[in-house]
Amino acid sequence: MKRRWRDVNRISFMIQIIASVLILLLVSSVLIRVYQASINKSKEADIITRSTRIARISAEYFSNRGSIDDVISGWDDAKKNITNYQDSIAEKDLLVYFDKKGAYQDSRFIKSGSDIKKYINNKNKLYVMKISIIADDGIGRNIEPVGIHAVREADFSIYFEGKKQYSLPCKTLYMTGEKADE
């Protein structure tokens, strides 16, 4: 009788242990999946926000509407590069590099239309913005009549880890020669 009870107890204990381990595995696998999904969604949201912010601020600099807050927060150099680009020729694209937090690193010109993957070799430069000039009426040229609005058009494409994330086409007006109210 004693032995039978001992056997029953042992079997019951084993079943409890196995059930506990299975429940533990199930719960932990579900938790891991949920946490993984949260991390992926957070990362995706972060990439979208940073890509959009980089493109928007660059487009604002391009059309000379950059806000002072953005300049203070570290976009001073980026502004110089992007605004200087207005005088460059349309056969070149400008690559602007940013780190994982979206802070400006450096920039360089590449031949228009070339594959940017070969220009991404530094792991610290995760975001790359390619600025392509589409139309450039009146920049550094003498357009007649003086004082009309010429159109400058550019495309701001943001790449994260070599993959294109976002593209923002921007058209801006440029007053040729003297301004109308001068």
Binding site: F13, Q16, S38, G147, H149, A180
Partner: protein
């Protein structure tokens, strides 16, 4: 029989602790997931908003370019030409003024977001 009962391993407190920790972890995981999803929705909305803003501004730029050329070439009946472009929930109002035969000036360039009616609960009218 009593001896046998004394030999049983008591898992009650460990089980309660395990269940409690599991429930807390599940709650935290669900909260984390819902926060991440909300962040993603906000990020997509922000991107969509910026895209639409630039779309309507690009349309406005095109209109100014075309209208200015037409005014300077053919002239216009009045000194000012107005245009309102509406796209989704965004509205761009432009006023272009002719100053001379060679010059036009943008007098107004106002981009506004049209707010829709609130779909929130009306606390003062429970019947709604």
């Amino acid at each position: 029989m009593n001896k046998m009962n004394n030999k049983r391993i008591r898992l009650g407190s460990i089980l309660i602790l395990f269940v409690l920790v599991s429930v807390i972890l599940v709650i935290l995981a669900v909260l984390g997931l819902s926060t991440a999803r909300a962040d993603l929705v906000v990020a997509k909305r922000y991107q969509n908003n910026v895209t639409k803003q630039y779309e309507i501004m690009n349309l406005g730029t095109e209109w100014v370019e075309d209208t200015e050329k037409a005014i300077l070439k053919n002239g216009s009946e009045s000194d000012t030409v107005e245009k309102t472009i509406t796209r989704d929930n965004k509205q761009l109002e432009i006023v272009l003024r002719k100053y001379s035969d060679r010059t036009c000036k943008i007098e107004k360039w106002k981009l506004t977001t049209i707010r829709g009616e609130s779909k929130g609960l009306d606390l003062f009218d429970p019947g709604k």
